[in-house]
């Protein structure tokens, strides 16, 4: 069992948990993810790693309730435990493997959307700890849904906050904020965008025009998370890749987002929807916790 040592509600439907999982905490790196399963009956739910404490042996996860399984997860409190918690899975962020001096010469911007702020945070923190500057644009639908703002401010060189409804910070999307910065003469040569697929799609459309190399973190439906089932396959360039072992990060300009978004709907459609409505009374989702 994997005990929950802390639980915090960050915003409406968004929760943070610190979970004791020493084997995961020992070697995990920013960019990787875990799969959690709350009990015998639960789904295997992939969640990105938001933070880790190697000494305490804990992993911080952030998730949004998007369907019955994540809804059920909210019932867990500090002192309860996950039946299963496996990781770290996937490849660490490309930035982690690069030479620090090379990184310092790069002009890096992160664009985080919604719960995508959680997986962006450890990367920015890692860069900050290694003396590498980077800017962060983080956005949400409104002020109430913003998460980890203080944490991010502490590690980002410049932090730009956006809300879709203008209730706080820049009025508009992260993509619009990037365009505005660019128009003001700010230049970047490396972008990491993590958030809902639709957001990543539009960021990539813009960065392609602007010529900014862009990495995205994909969050498709998964089952085992170790390369065995192929549920998470997506088309990158002309190749079929498995997000769990080849990703989750990919060159955003090569990802076929339209297809990936359709595949995300797998269990939201037709009989899938009807069957799940019957079983769960709500629409369903792979459980990535990153879709708004």
């Amino acid at each position: 069992m994997y005990p929950i040592v802390k639980k915090e509600k960050l915003a409406d439907k968004i929760y943070l948990m610190d979970v004791k999982a020493p084997r995961v905490a020992q070697y995990c790196e920013p960019g990787q993810f875990v799969i959690v399963k709350m009990d015998e009956y639960g789904e295997r739910i992939p969640l990105t790693i938001c933070d880790y404490d190697r000494e305490a042996g804990t992993i911080t996860i952030v998730f949004q309730t998007v369907g019955a399984s994540t809804e059920r997860m909210v019932s867990l409190e500090a002192g309860d435990a996950f039946a299963d918690f496996v990781g770290p899975l996937g490849c660490p962020s490309d930035l982690i493997g690069e030479d620090i001096e090379t990184l310092k010469k790069k002009k890096i911007v992160f664009i985080a959307g919604g719960v995508g702020t959680a997986p962006v945070y450890p990367q920015v923190k890692w860069l900050h700890e290694h003396g590498v500057d980077c800017d962060v644009i983080m956005g949400s639908r409104n002020k109430e849904l913003l998460i980890l703002e203080d944490e991010m401010r502490a590690v980002a060189t410049n932090l730009y906050v956006t809300t879709d409804d203008g209730s706080y910070g820049f009025h508009g999307t992260g993509t619009a904020q990037l365009q505005a910065l660019w128009d003001d003469g700010v230049r970047y040569d490396h972008c990491v965008a993590i958030g809902p697929m639709i957001m990543m799609k539009f960021v990539c459309k813009l960065t392609k025009e602007l010529g900014i190399h862009t990495i995205v973190s994909m969050n498709p439906i998964m089952v085992d998370g170790t390369g065995m089932c192929g549920a998470c396959r997506l088309v990158v360039g002309d190749e079929v890749k498995f997000a769990c072992v080849d990703g989750p990060e990919f060159d955003g300009h090569l990802v076929d987002f339209d297809q990936a978004m359709k595949r995300q709907q797998q269990y939201k459609t037709e009989e899938g929807r009807a069957m799940l409505k019957l079983q769960e009374g709500d629409t369903h989702h792979g459980g990535c916790g990153q879709c708004s």
Binding site: G42, V86, M228, C229, G230, V245, K262
Partner: protein
């Protein structure tokens, strides 16, 4: 009674079982088992044993069954096999022990598999466990993967006194026995969990949720956690797809995904959260045992199921018994046919397939006659689910994170057949990770050979 024919084994009626997940074959009772055992000629130079990858003393255990000494029969089997209740159910006996049975020359071979199953089930029902080593020898061995290869290797090493820990990536032990083979062929709780418990009873520890190559590497296990030898039995790996248009559509699954959702995640049971979608009309592409499992699972979930296979009936790689059971249950076989494209509707869901008919040409390098497309024979078939069952390619997680571990050009780990030794000292391997997708019993044979190899390595180190 006619000694030339087998004592028939009771099965669920095809129409009944096609709508449930209960076990198809009901097995022998004591009287039936003793009657079948009496057909064994107890050959001095037993050919059946030569056909068994783990060399069970087959005439020995059958002689005990004949006398009604079922516990003694069980101890004879468990000297060679850690998983008799599994093997009795899923081994391709017709090509192994039973294929060599002298009775089979003039009549029907002795039903060795069903007898093995009976003995293992009887032992479980009577609470009989395999015998544990008197004391441990203090040497630690890590086993990666809790499938047939890993369980066998771990069990054999534990009997020799080693302190063995199995690392399993999934949340439940058993490997393909829990995620791949369906409940109706291999009951999970009754049979697999019980066999895993037997391995644990030998002193083996199992740590689930550890992905070797990610959570921890082999080098770290050996350098930091004190394991003196490692056995890799990590299984087959990544599912293959055809590379035809439409394969990324919704409703197209690998057999691994479809079976994992159903078997490991128990999607067929109401109270489990994981969803599965079988649809009304399912195409399964492929003709192996996994294809049969996927087809029969889809049938039980209520679909009309077509198995589309590019060669003919004779070439079907699945066991005869599986094909026979599938046909009885109403699976439709579209043989000598192959999909060239999957048809997708405006929502991105698969709606059917374009299929071309094939004929058999010259034998290829595998010795099988290779299928050739018949020009102009294409037709369309409707389907709302397509399951690709085309085998797997090796998972690079371990080979790419272990220094000095050689792989071959198919990316399988290179290991010596006799003792499982790899290019890296102290590291042994066996099962599908070495051979590519094969059978449970071959993996067990490899696990057994590696246990012997590891014992020799550690005793002479």
């Amino acid at each position: 009674m006619d000694v030339m024919t087998r004592v028939p084994v009771r099965e669920q009626e095809p129409q009944v079982r096609a709508a449930n997940f209960e076990e198809v074959c009901l097995g022998y009772n004591e009287e039936e088992a003793m009657a079948e055992a009496a057909r064994c000629l107890n050959c001095k130079n037993a050919q059946c044993m030569k056909g068994c990858p783990v060399s069970i003393d087959i005439p020995g255990f059958i002689a005990q069954v004949k006398e009604g000494n079922f516990e003694e029969a069980y101890q004879i089997i468990s000297r060679s096999s850690a998983l008799p209740a599994v093997c009795g159910r899923v081994c391709p006996q017709e090509n192994q022990c039973e294929g060599k049975c002298i009775r089979g020359i003039k009549g029907e071979a002795v039903s060795i598999g069903k007898l093995e199953r009976f003995v293992a089930d009887w032992a479980r029902e009577h609470g009989i466990k395999p015998k544990k080593a008197e004391e441990t020898n203090g040497h630690k061995v890590a086993v990666i993967g809790s499938g047939p290869a890993g369980l066998t290797c771990a069990g054999d090493l534990a009997k020799l006194g080693y302190e063995v820990t199995i690392f399993e990536a999934l949340h439940e032990a058993g490997g393909v026995l829990v995620y791949g083979i369906p409940e109706f062929r291999l009951p999970k709780q009754k049979v697999v969990a019980a066999e895993v418990e037997n391995v644990k009873a030998l002193g083996v520890k199992i740590e689930t949720n550890v992905v070797i190559g990610k959570s921890v590497t082999i080098d770290e296990l050996m350098e930091q956690e004190g394991y003196e030898a490692v056995f890799i039995g990590s299984g087959a790996g990544l599912p293959r797809f055809m590379g035809i248009p439409g394969e990324q559509a919704m409703g197209v699954f690998s057999a691994n995904e479809f079976l994992t959702r159903n078997n490991l995640m128990k999607a067929f049971l109401e109270d489990y959260d994981t969803p599965i979608k079988a649809g009304k009309k399912v195409i399964v592409v492929g003709g192996g045992n996994v294809a049969m499992d996927a087809a029969r699972t889809a049938k039980r979930l209520g679909a009309e199921v077509h198995v589309v296979y590019r060669r003919g009936e004779e070439e079907l790689p699945a066991r005869k018994e599986e094909v026979h059971h599938a046909k009885e249950e109403g699976i439709i076989f579209d043989l000598l046919q192959n999909p060239t494209e999957l048809l997708v509707d405006e929502n991105g869901c698969v709606r059917g397939a374009k299929i071309i008919k094939m004929e058999l040409g010259e034998p290829d390098e595998s010795g099988r006659r290779s299928p050739v497309e018949i020009p102009g024979s294409e037709y369309e078939i409707e389907a709302d689910t397509v399951i690709m069952s085309l085998g797997t390619s090796p998972n690079p997680l371990i080979s790419s994170t272990t220094k000095g571990l050689d792989t071959n050009r198919r990316k399988c780990i290179v290991a010596e057949e006799a003792n499982g030794a790899t290019s890296k000292p102290g590291v042994f391997a066996g099962g599908d990770a070495v051979t590519g997708a094969a059978t449970v019993i071959l993996a067990m044979g490899a696990g057994k050979a590696a246990a012997k190899g590891i014992d020799e390595y550690l005793r002479t180190k």
